[in-house]
């Protein structure tokens, strides 16, 4: 890995993010009233997309917003401009990572779903997000925020609306924990701007559809598991190298499973909810490959998993995969609307680094002279991997991410020396269950919690 390539400035990045920040600042006071002179957030967005196909629509929306007269379609246009700017940032950053990792990226075109009829629930979601934009973060109160609950409840049963439902649910919970907005001294501007504009775009019919473009036949070699979660949802994403049976070039793919959950289901309880729906979790946890037959796959390299298309394969140690297969694997493209710096998660294999922990406990790998911050906070609690193990490691499978202006690495697995023996420790080792003592205790606690909740649900929920 040419880590030094991650260091230099990226041309145009600051300018793009300045326009984003100007708009985010406008959302503090909200867009209900005319914008005071000198604060031109929406206009900055419009200027930034001049000369693109978005220009006319965004210019109109910015003018309406500046006058305090923006409607829902105008908000969508502003969200689209903000998303487009982040898309350009994503592309520039990803090019850097690809150069550093020596990764070839495919050039497929991700097909766009054909126009779809407007659904009432999407309209309702858009109305809620528009209310947020009008009242601004300063004007947040429980009444505005609680408007999301009904929309989310109605969306969750429909798997095709899961993307928007999950986003809104997490966003609303975060806003509720920050109410009233008037009492907040600082706002997570970039973050709330991201969630707001992401939600707005997903209210466009068809925006959340990721069409299946083919099937995968061949051998799947897991690298590691990335877990994401908020209070009422979790997703496990297995990063893997796929070796097609037809002998064509190996590719990087992902397989995901996600589930809504009560906020009291945490840690090992999350694995328990997801485990029955994807045999790959157990295979990845145990270090086994899987053989795929006719597994649906999108142009973005996402396997749309179903167990009937997979059967257990030979043992496949993730570090062997990382050393041998990963360097030759090509990476898929990102769907146009999904291009965002937060989406960058490029699997890499690192070794020969030195580690350093500063006074605040922040861990840094020095790789070929470059400091990479290690995001140990992302290591799931329900697993054997710990920040301490990462600090003592000699080799690491990780995801290169970009956060707060610099590249860093999220460890998925490390090799450490235990009693003079090199041992691999995986963040997702407990995905399929565990015999580890601490793990078994966590499993038991989670089973008990789930049992109580389902007993209560069985007795009290009207069937």
């Amino acid at each position: 890995m040419r880590a030094d390539l991650l260091a230099g400035p990226v041309e145009g990045l600051d300018e793009a993010l300045e326009a984003v920040d100007a708009f985010d600042q406008a959302l503090v006071a909200g867009l209900l009233r005319p914008q005071p002179a000198g604060t031109a957030g929406p206009t900055r967005l419009a200027d930034a997309v001049l000369g693109t196909p978005l220009a006319a629509g965004v210019a109109e929306a910015a003018a309406k917003a500046a006058a305090g007269a923006a409607g829902e379609d105008h908000f969508v246009a502003l969200a689209a401009a903000r998303t487009a700017l982040h898309g350009s940032v994503h592309d520039a950053l990803l090019t850097r990572v690809d150069e550093a990792a020596g990764r070839q990226r495919g050039a497929d075109v991700v097909p766009v779903a054909a126009g779809q009829p407007t659904a009432n629930l999407l309209t309702a979601a858009r109305a809620w997000l528009s209310d947020l934009a009008r009242c601004g973060w300063q004007g947040l109160d429980h009444e505005v925020v609680s408007g999301a609950a009904e929309v989310v409840s109605a969306m969750l049963p429909d798997p095709s609306l899961r993307r928007l439902a999950t986003l809104l649910d997490g966003f609303a919970a975060e806003l509720a924990a920050s109410c009233p907005g008037a009492s907040l001294e600082r706002f997570p501007l970039r973050r709330w701007g991201d969630l707001w504009s992401r939600g707005m775009l997903l209210t466009v019919p068809g925006a959340a559809v990721a069409p299946v473009t083919g099937t995968a036949d061949g051998r799947l070699l897991p690298l590691g598991i990335d877990v994401t979660e908020h209070a009422t949802a979790a997703q496990a994403q297995v990063h893997a190298v796929f070796e097609p049976a037809d002998g064509s070039a190996p590719r990087l793919v992902r397989a995901s499973v996600s589930v809504p959950k009560p906020d009291t289901v945490v840690g090992a309880g999350i694995w328990q909810l997801m485990r029955p729906h994807m045999s790959l979790l157990a295979a990845a946890g145990e270090g086994c490959s899987m053989d795929l037959t006719g597994m649906p796959v999108t142009a973005e390299g996402d396997l749309v998993w179903s167990d009937e298309h997979a059967r257990p394969g030979e043992p496949a140690e993730a570090f062997a995969t990382a050393r041998v297969a990963l360097p030759t694997a090509t990476a898929p493209v990102t769907a146009p609307l999904d291009r965002h710096p937060a989406r960058i998660a490029v699997p890499v294999f690192l070794e020969g680094y030195t580690t350093r922990t500063d006074d605040e406990g922040r861990l840094t790998f020095t790789v070929a002279g470059l400091d990479l911050v290690v995001d140990t906070d992302r290591i799931p609690a329900a697993g054997p991997l710990t920040p301490e193990a990462v600090a003592k490691s000699g080799a690491c499978i990780g995801l290169i991410r970009w956060d707060a202006g610099s590249f860093g690495v999220q460890p998925l697995a490390v090799e450490t020396t235990v009693r003079k023996k090199v041992t691999a420790v995986h963040a997702g080792a407990w995905a399929g269950g565990t015999t580890d003592k601490a793990g078994a205790r966590a499993e038991k606690a989670a089973t008990d919690a789930a049992k109580v909740l389902s007993e209560r649900a069985g007795r009290l929920l009207r069937k």
């Binding site: 798997p159 899961r162 009290l460």
Partner: protein, 156 residues
């Protein structure tokens, strides 16, 4: 981002939340497995209420907090951590290692009134909504939006 809930045993208090300007939740009856109590304490005034899900008032909640409310406060401190509960309730509890009992007695000492707003039905329906999260099927289509929600090892 909001730190995840801390794990706790759910048998006694299956549901607790800081919402609608109240610490509110559902407490299982000690004697009847089919009965639950809906209990709440309001932010600022500490006005309290406790009744069954069929709206029968709790015999213990005359004049001051009953045992159900005590259990609710204990579990809230376990789930969210004392600082967040104290802050939400605007309680005048000593900084540092407040436990549920300490917080309850701090609020009791202000002689709070019974809450007359009859929120039990809405709290109970929020509990049912919470339980319904167990009923939604997992999906294996990717949710790219979850990349905005990294896990954290920090606890509430």
């Amino acid at each position: 981002m909001v730190p995840p809930a801390r794990p706790r045993k759910l048998a006694k208090v299956p549901f607790v939340e800081l919402a609608d300007g109240r610490l509110q939740g559902v407490v299982s009856s000690g004697s009847d497995i089919g009965r639950v109590y809906v209990s709440s304490v309001a932010t600022g005034t500490f006005a309290f209420a406790c009744s069954t899900n069929n709206n029968r008032p709790c015999g213990g909640a005359h004049g001051s907090f009953c045992n159900h409310i005590g259990a609710l406060i204990n579990e809230a401190v376990l789930q969210y951590g004392a600082p967040r509960v104290v802050r939400y309730l605007k309680a005048d509890a000593p900084e540092g290692d407040t436990d549920g009992a300490g917080l309850a007695s701090a609020m009791r000492s202000t002689r709070p009134q019974a809450d007359t707003t009859k929120a039990a039905a809405s709290v109970f329906s929020r509990f049912l909504r919470h339980l319904a999260y167990l009923e939604h099927a997992p999906v294996t289509a990717p949710l790219p939006e979850m990349q905005f929600f990294p896990p954290t090892r920090a606890v509430a």
